[in-house]
C-alpha cells in the first residue's frame, strides 16, 4: 500500500514557486533601475509623468509590478511540468542578490551620488 501512497501524495507545483522567486527578483531589479533612470534622466521622467497628485513613484510601482507579473506568467508558462532541480539554488541566490542590490541602490546617498568633473 505504501507504494500506492506515493502516487496519491499531493503534487507540489515547484515551477510556480520558482517562477515567483524569479519574478520577484526581476521586479526588484526593475524597481531600482526605473527609479534610477527617472532620477537621472528628467526628460524621460517628464514624458512618463502620469498624474500630478501621485507623482513619479507611481511609475516605478507600475513598471516593477508589471515586470513582476509579466515575468511570473512567462516563467510559469515555460517551466510548467519541467524538472526544476538545477534551477532551485540558482534562483534562490539570484533572489538574494536582487534583494541586496535593491536595498543598497535605493538608499538616497547611493543613487544621488555623482562625481562632478570641473574644468580648470
Amino acid at each position: 500500500m505504501k507504494l500506492f501512497d506515493q502516487f496519491f501524495k499531493p503534487r507540489v507545483h515547484e515551477s510556480v514557486a520558482i517562477s515567483a522567486l524569479l519574478a520577484v527578483s526581476l521586479a526588484l531589479h526593475a524597481a531600482w533601475l526605473s527609479h534610477l533612470i527617472l532620477f537621472r534622466v528628467p526628460e524621460l521622467f517628464n514624458r512618463l509623468f502620469l498624474s500630478d497628485t501621485i507623482g513619479p513613484i507611481f511609475i516605478v510601482y507600475t513598471l516593477s509590478l508589471g515586470v513582476g507579473l509579466g515575468s511570473f506568467l512567462l516563467f510559469c508558462f515555460f517551466l510548467r511540468g519541467r524538472d526544476c532541480t538545477e534551477l532551485r539554488d540558482r534562483a534562490f541566490w539570484f533572489f538574494v542578490v536582487s534583494l541586496i542590490m535593491f536595498l543598497v541602490l535605493t538608499f538616497p546617498f547611493v543613487y544621488v551620488f555623482e562625481i562632478a568633473v570641473s574644468s580648470v
Binding site: 520577484v24 534562490f92 535605493t106 538616497p108
Partner: protein, 150 residues
C-alpha cells in the same frame, strides 16, 4: 501637549479615526506576530497554515496602505530645487515599502504551494526564501516607520 488616555478630554479617539494610522499600526502588529511564528515554524510544521493566513492579511494591508497613501499623497517633485533631504527620504520610504509588497506575496505563494512539505530536504531554498522575505519585510516596515519621523 494633549493627552491620549488619562486627561479630561483625551485625544485617543481622534488618533484612532485616522485610517492611515490604524492600518499602519495593524500592519506593524501583524508583522510582529509573523516573525515569532516564523522562528517557531521550523520546529512546528503545523504553524505553516496560520503563517500563510497572517501573511495573506499582511499583503492585503500593504495594498491598503499603498491605496490610502496614493489617494492622499501630495506631489513629489523631482526638479533640482526640491531635492532636499525630506524629499529623498520620502522617495526612499516609497521604494522601501515596495519590497514588503513583493516579498510577502512571494512568501504567500511559496507557503501556499508547499505547506507542510516546506520542511522536506529539497525545499530548503524555498524555506530560506520565506524566512528572508518575512524578516526583510519586517525590517523595511520598521525603517519606513522610523524615517516617517524625519
Amino acid at each position: 501637549m494633549l493627552g491620549l488616555l488619562l486627561v479630561a478630554s483625551p485625544t485617543l479617539l481622534f488618533n484612532l479615526l485616522d485610517p492611515g494610522a490604524v492600518i499602519f499600526g495593524l500592519l506593524l502588529m501583524l508583522l510582529s506576530a509573523a516573525v515569532p511564528l516564523l522562528i517557531l515554524f521550523a520546529r512546528v510544521p503545523q504553524l505553516t497554515k496560520p503563517l500563510f493566513w497572517i501573511l495573506l492579511v499582511i499583503e492585503l494591508i500593504l495594498v491598503a496602505v499603498v491605496v490610502v497613501d496614493f489617494s492622499i499623497l501630495p506631489t513629489i517633485s523631482s526638479n533640482a530645487t526640491s531635492r532636499d533631504l525630506s524629499i529623498l527620504f520620502a522617495n526612499h520610504r516609497w521604494l522601501l515599502f515596495e519590497a514588503p509588497l513583493l516579498l510577502v506575496a512571494l512568501a504567500c505563494v511559496i507557503l501556499g504551494i508547499y505547506r507542510e512539505r516546506l520542511f522536506e530536504a529539497h525545499a530548503r531554498p524555498y524555506r530560506q526564501a520565506v524566512v528572508l522575505s518575512v524578516i526583510v519585510s519586517f525590517i523595511c516596515v520598521l525603517i519606513v516607520t522610523a524615517e516617517a519621523f524625519i
